[in-house]
């Protein structure tokens, strides 16, 4: 296996572990295609990608992937219902213009949806805001408020509420702390929402 995930993206390895062998996979915001290539070589998936940047598209093409240049807000519409077994959106939901619609579209085209999000409710973020009185800037969320691509922040709790609102069931959830270590599965919600720096959810909508 020659594919590797980029360093520092522990969520990608976690996501890969949640994808079944041989699945039809769409990676929304696939970047340079590292995750898809990993999934194709190690999980034998039939992968497709959506990526906005020309550099990312070229890099993905060079890996032999099929990529549509576009974004989550507008281009999920090209896919028919249940076109994929798994639709992945990693660290991008907070940067979309209409997160609810994006999530609904993903649930429409995928049997399962895997979403990883940064947690705006992490204790460091809360502390910065509370004590400094300024919009937080952390290692995981390194942008100032005026140049951030992240326009729709949420906490893990907020995301769970959205999932409920759109009628999705959370099949699995994994929160990672700042060191990339899993927050214990049996930990209470308040701890998840405080200690999880990011989280990965597997959603499904019964029809």
């Amino acid at each position: 296996m020659n594919a590797t995930v980029p360093q520092g993206r522990v969520d990608l390895e976690l996501i890969a572990s949640l994808v079944p062998q041989g699945a039809r996979v769409l990676d929304v915001g696939c970047g340079d295609g590292a995750l898809l290539e990993l999934l194709e070589t190690s999980h034998g998936v039939d992968g497709r990608g959506i990526e906005l940047s020309q550099a990312g598209v070229n890099a993905s093409l060079a890996r032999g992937l099929s990529v549509i240049q576009g974004d989550a807000d507008t281009d999920l519409a090209v896919y028919p219902d249940r076109a994929f077994d798994v639709v992945i959106l990693s660290q991008t939901l907070q940067a979309t213009r209409a997160p609810r619609r994006v999530l609904e579209e993903m649930l429409r085209i995928g049997e399962r949806v895997i979403v990883s999000i940064p947690n705006f409710g992490h204790w460091r973020v809360r502390l910065q805001f509370l004590l400094g009185g300024e919009m937080p800037v952390t290692k995981n969320l390194p942008y100032t408020w005026y140049d951030t691509p992240n326009i729709h922040f949420c906490t893990l709790r907020d995301f769970v509420n959205l999932a409920t609102t759109v009628g999705a069931r959370i099949e699995r959830k994994v929160a990672l702390d700042a060191g990339g270590v899993r927050v214990p599965v049996n930990a209470p919600w308040w701890l998840w929402n405080l200690a999880g720096q990011q989280a990965v959810f597997v959603l499904r909508k019964d029809r």
Binding site: Q54, A62, D75, V78
Partner: protein, 430 residues
Amino acid sequence: MCSIPHRPLRMERAWRERDELGAMSSEQNPGEEGLNGQDEAILRDPVEEASSPASLVAVFGDDEALPLDCGRTLAPWQIAYQTYGTLNAERSNAILICHALTGDQHVASPNPVTGKPGWWELMVGPGKTIDTERYFIVCANVLGGCMGTSGPATRDPQTGKPYGLDFPIVTINDMVRAEARLLDRLGIDTLFAVVGGSMGGMRVLAFASAYPERTFAAIPIATSARHSSQNIAFHEVGRQAVMADPDWHGGRYIEAGTRPVKGLSVARMAAHVTYMSDEALHRKFGRNLQDRAGVTFGFEADFQIESYLRHQGMTFVDRFDANAYLYVTRAMDYFDLAAEHGGQLARAFAGTTTRFCVIAFSSDWLFPTSESRALVKALAACGARVTFVEIETDRGHDSFLLDEPDLFSTVSSFLASAARVRGLSEGGAR
């Protein structure tokens, strides 16, 4: 010859310089324009070229008639083509390149009529994006064209005279059928790829739809699965200009010893505007005047853009047959892949295993990105392996013929990965 005010030498040199800078191009390659007297002697007569091309030609006899969408059959008929590179032992490295409306088979070698370099030498050649050292390239003149494939300018073997309007109306599908017959003749069962821009892209789609099992990969560029109302409108303006020229003689101008150069050049001028973006026109020409200090209060070409268009019109008529222009534009107008499949474009590609790479240009208003997106949606609906790229450029529809690095990198990456899957060695033919 033509009464359009025109100062050939000085003006043509000016535009030659522009073209060499890559500042502007016609739909044809922005190549060397001028030739000295010696070279001119070897240029071929376009009327002769239409029946007896300088390139390779495959002739099909009465027993190999070509059925046409209009209900008629064509026999005998011929298709003129060029090849570059070497077909490998497995016959798996062939790429069919489909030329645009006024293109021809001379992709990567000098055009025998104009002496200009091949129209896609930026893309195709040894070591280029479409590498002739790796792939076997086939490019044929379209049915209805005027560079040696059967068309209205070809001599009708029954009468010995040019077909003129007696030539049957042909469609994009007919053109593709003819190209498939050529591939049969060449012993090429499956294409590694079929590639083309604009009308060439229409043929890429028609080919991939009609012969999915013969198409490993397809690269439709700056194109659409149907000709829009606006596009039909522009073509109609061009055709009316040709037919309004008294020298057209109801299509029998060759026998009359005339040529509808005025009408055809106006058609070309109007079409040429559609190949460029407003932004690029403004950047290159603005309201600049042509070799004069002020406007002349008359109807000469005061503005550079006028002079440029007149030049484009004049050079076009020297190489292209007016009737062929009518026929080929008509073929584009009739193209509607969805309509052929019960109104559902996805049905045109149902079950396809072809790998697609759809490319659009952000400033192309003739075949806008929305058309490509509709195509991508249809392909995605079939579960096809489709890649889509919209290249940012202000150079309009013509971008596919120009030096656009993102175009080359996209095609190159796509072909390289497809070649890996196809099991083509790096050396290709060797």
